[in-house]
């Protein structure tokens, strides 16, 4: 496997270092050739930077990609936004040689060159395509049989598809495949592909952001979902933090929000605290307790056998 740099992004390192923790734990456990490299900046975040200055968006992303190009590494990120933004610019520059030349003229003055040779992947498709379901299954100590999981893909894991090219952009399957490989049931639900709506919090529309979170959480609650699983810090903020804020005001959902790396870590035998799950705003204990209770149940054959072998009392 080719060496790859991890692009942590601003949100994880600023707000959720425990996501970095669980990501490092699973990367180490799989003995994957990941590297930390100097020189990254913000990816940059599209809704802030691209809306104000497209040129700044392009040169910043191109410079970040140039850093991995130079080292001949690939890039993997546990943040959907980062990968999507970097890949969007990579795609734009590859399709537009004139623009690429303009960008490289600027980059040359700081000693860089954008080539666009490195593969840019989000962690979930990376685990699906590069690590593989088979290797993941071999690492599982205790699976999630009997647990009902609502996956939230996160728009930018799979879109824009022309830049990311990793799954069906409207009916993706890879995250589902990974969750099924861990033994859990991936629920199919109406709002599964709905955007989290966290962007509304960034334009001073907090109540509307809560409204978007509420729609999905309500449906998951009605379906008896044990946890929402996702792999995007922005979506995590929306469903963990904003759910917590709504619960404080008396709206009860009780849907733990679990990062993909945390779920994987649990299956591999790590404790919730080792993975930093005690740092979530919404308590993950009900999920862990139910999971533990299920795994201490006697084998299903035994219960049937007991019934069949019971003394006749007619």
């Amino acid at each position: 496997m080719k060496e790859f740099a991890v692009f942590w992004g601003c949100t994880i390192q600023t707000r959720f270092p425990f996501i970095e923790k669980s990501t490092r734990i699973v990367l180490e456990s799989f003995k994957l050739p990941y590297r930390d490299i100097d020189g990254f900046t913000c990816c940059p975040e599209k809704s802030l930077v691209n809306n104000i200055d497209h040129g700044a968006f392009v040169v910043t992303a191109a410079r970040n990609v140039a850093l991995v190009d130079e080292l001949d590494y690939d890039l993997v990120s546990p943040c959907t936004g980062c990968v999507s933004n970097l890949a969007t610019v990579k795609g734009e520059l590859k399709a537009n040689p004139r623009e690429k030349a303009e960008v490289n003229k600027l980059l040359k003055e700081v000693g860089r060159e954008f080539k666009g040779t490195s593969k840019l992947q989000h962690l979930v498709p990376f685990f699906h395509d590069t690590v593989g379901v088979h290797a993941i299954k071999q690492k599982i100590k205790k699976d999630f049989s009997g647990m009902r999981i609502g996956i939230h893909y996160g728009c930018h894991m799979i879109r824009p598809s022309h830049a990311l090219r990793n799954d069906d952009p409207l009916e993706p399957k890879k995250f589902d495949t990974l969750i099924s490989a861990l033994g859990a049931q991936s629920l199919q639900f109406m709002t599964k592909m709905m955007c989290c709506g966290q962007g509304l919090d960034r334009i001073d529309e907090h109540d509307r952001a809560l409204h978007f979170a509420r729609i999905k959480l309500k449906e998951l609650k009605s379906l008896g979902c044990d946890a929402m699983v996702l792999c995007c810090p922005s979506c995590f903020l929306q469903f963990d933090n904003n759910q917590f804020l709504m619960e404080k005001e008396g709206e009860k959902f009780g849907i733990p929000v679990i990062y993909f790396t945390e779920l994987l870590g649990l299956a591999m035998g790590y404790k919730p605290e080792e993975l930093g799950m005690d740092l979530h705003r919404v308590d993950c204990t009900p999920f862990v307790k139910k999971w533990e209770a299920l795994s201490t149940r006697p084998p299903r054959e035994d219960a049937i056998e007991d019934g069949l072998n019971a003394p006749v009392d007619l």
Binding site: Q13, G55, A56, N64, E102, P160, H162, C195, I203, I215
Partner: protein, 156 residues
């Protein structure tokens, strides 16, 4: 140089289609949000009236419209163009302003949480590319100025 653009030919088609309206989360959940009206106004030369509207910022950039669009274009491009014009006029949301200022100043949207990292046993964060980024950003600005004013008139 490296400015956002808008393709009117593709937008003409958008005004006759509207497939995106059925899949856009903001269309579904925000009353009055209807980019078909925005596109029509852009085509009629009346984009100005949307510059101070909340709606142009309520596009979540989820790219659903792009994926369902048979031109693979999507009205998000129209919204991005309007947001860019609005931001240049200074009529953008406070948090967007703040975020942009922090980005330009530090090259990031926040600094690594050091005490929490230590507690979690995480390694020292790697050096950021802030200095090089600042240089690059200045180069971009200079290149644009040069393009607008090739003779160097009016500048030093």
């Amino acid at each position: 140089m490296l400015e956002a653009t808008l393709n009117f030919k593709l937008l003409e088609q958008c005004s006759k289609c509207g497939a995106c309206f059925s899949i856009c989360p903001s269309c579904m959940h925000i009353p009055g949000y209807d980019p078909r009206a925005v596109i029509q106004d852009i085509l009629d030369g009346n984009h100005d009236k949307w510059l101070s509207s909340r709606h142009i910022w309520q596009c979540l950039e989820c790219h659903h419209c792009l994926e369902i669009c048979y031109q693979h274009y999507g009205f998000e491009n129209a919204m991005t163009a309007l947001r860019t014009i609005a931001a240049k006029k200074g009529i953008h949301p406070t948090q967007v302003k703040r975020g942009w200022e922090m980005f330009v100043k530090t090259s990031r949207l926040g600094e690594p949480a050091l005490p929490a990292r230590k507690k979690l046993g995480l390694p020292e964060p790697k050096a950021s590319g802030a200095e090089e980024f600042k240089k690059l950003f200045a180069l971009l600005k200079a290149a644009r100025e040069k393009q607008e004013n090739p003779e160097g008139k009016g500048s030093e």
